[in-house]
Symmetry: C2
Subunit: 336 residues, 2 copies
């Protein structure tokens, strides 16, 4: 025997039992300071007894802002995006914002669908890491979001659009820092496994490396892969087939570094002895498996905070234009 679905408590039922009007009950939840403490007390007590919880659909239907922001990432399993999302959510909660989190599976169709969904959900703003590395990727939905005046904050992957705010990593500086560090180690032969050539992130990191290293070391090889492990594995593998190991591989993001590691280990080359790895981005699980690769790490907390704040600024100050924040990474290594 299934018990009938108990009728859900509503504001009206709470208000009636508390002997106040609906609007007073409403204020008890949304602006408690505008309600007399005693009244407030009574309302909350009754609400508790009735198991009342606010109906967000009804609220969002009427209220101007839903106090909700959407977060969209191409791959939640990537600890960079997963960690960021987690931190942004916590940041949002602090000031009473909810987050709706979606994974676009590195796919354009999913990304389009998710943006539609977020519009449907009436989100106040969207924090978005787009699926494409291409600076000139210009998805349809951006026009739509602009018309609807829903602020967008891009994270990590920059687009050539004026409408969006953004938090980006100083990629050129990543390359320069990496290069300088390698010079300090008297490194002579470096092989860089980069992201794709059409990616700004990849290009700038490489340019930074070149600026720091070009002409100052014996050899600097650049190989272009994409930002995923498999193709970085392939590039490294191919390189090792035809060449002796360099002093240092440089992995241009965390996935690439994993690919390099895999290829070296498969080849039976002792990492940190026969060849070393410098990684831009920290390398997942490295410490567990006994490695401490020098790397450039980015403060996820700062990126999260900046992203959320850019969103809030656009929301709370209608005059504010799109803004851009650049975050620098820090070298993490045993001995400098």
């Amino acid at each position: 025997m299934v018990s009938a679905r108990e009728k859900k408590a509503t504001l009206a039922s709470v208000a009636e039992l508390a002997g106040v009007s609906k609007i007073t009950a409403s204020r008890a939840f949304s602006q408690p300071n505008k309600v007399h403490p005693e009244t407030l007390q009574r309302i909350l007590l009754i609400a508790e007894e009735l198991g009342y919880s606010i109906n967000v659909s009804a609220r969002n239907l009427r209220a101007k802002n839903s106090k909700t922001i959407g977060i969209v990432n191409p791959d939640m399993a990537n600890p960079f995006f997963g960690g960021l999302t987690r931190l942004i959510s916590l940041e949002a909660q602090k000031i009473g914002y909810e987050t709706l989190v979606f994974d676009s599976y590195e796919s354009q169709e999913h990304e389009d669908r998710i943006i539609e969904k977020l519009i449907s959900y009436n989100v106040d703003a969207i924090i978005l890491s787009v699926i494409s590395n291409d600076h000139h990727y210009h998805p349809q939905y951006l026009k739509r979001l602009e018309k609807l005046n829903i602020p967008v904050v891009l994270v990590d992957r920059e687009l050539a659009v004026s409408y969006c705010s953004g938090v980006y990593i100083d990629n050129f500086d990543c390359g320069v820092q990496a290069g300088r560090w390698l010079l300090e180690q008297n490194t002579q032969r470096v092989v860089v496994i980069s992201g794709p050539e059409n990616s700004n992130v990849a290009r700038e990191r490489v340019m930074g490396l070149q600026a720091a290293l070009q002409g100052k070391i014996a050899s600097l090889e650049i190989r272009y892969a994409d930002f995923f492990m498999d193709s970085a594995w392939q590039e490294t593998h191919d390189w090792l087939q035809n060449n002796p190991p360099p002093d240092y591989f440089v992995g241009c993001n965390n996935q690439i570094s994993l690919g390099i590691i895999k290829a070296c280990i498969e080849k039976g080359i002792k990492l940190t002895e026969q060849v070393s790895l410098f990684s831009i981005d920290q390398v997942s699980h490295a410490e567990i498996y006994g490695f401490r690769f020098p790397c450039i790490s980015h403060d996820l907390q700062e990126i999260a905070w900046q992203a959320f704040n850019l969103a809030m600024r656009r929301l709370n100050d209608s005059e504010s234009k799109s803004a851009k924040v650049v975050v620098r990474g820090k070298i993490l290594a045993e001995h400098d």
Copy 2:
């Protein structure tokens, strides 16, 4: 100059331009087969032009079911839960359900808050991996969900409550399979790093191991940690301080196995040579770092499918009572 927020297209505006009533326009989106093809065509075209997208708040306010299910996990960064969530979401999309995904950060407060939130969002059902390993954990919110008649499907961590359906792993069988495999390798000395004693999952896995191994090998040590890496690392570390490495460590979940690996590597003990590891659950990143540990793997796809289906069954058949599904793992190893 900020452009004024363009007035969002509504069903009414679409209907007017299409020369039909609101309800016909409504049906064009929710039950297109009940609308004349030509009319449908016209409505969809206008909707497209106007950039109309349905307002879920308004829909959910009126509609019986929100076609939305909530997913709650204690730790999305754990690939078991992250992967599961991803698969359940895809499964749900196939039949037009949306998912609202939340991470409870292994914390009771977050879990409580999230459940409230999901009630607020009018979810039709909740798929939940609770934060506690304790079989007798009995959170307040379960009563509430039962009263509200919101079906709950537990995943992985079982609770002693009749109200919830559940998909569980056959933990005893995990232990037995692991034990049998170890026997086949003529293993003599085994150290098991288990989850906490108050956890059913942990206890059953250990019991399975004992059933298969007790009295048949030279020594079988059980150490209780919790399900996180650090304490497993500590237990392994302590054991290695005072004892020679066993033939096999058995890690009772993926986090524990990582802790074991870390401790062994730090200690300079060659894994798979001086000591081996059998893991219940697959070990993250092992292949990248050059290891192939024998393990028991669980088909996430099957678990996801079962979980979602249990939820749907409860929703579509009001007569259906809570059901329980048990999933067996499979041995994954180089040579059997």
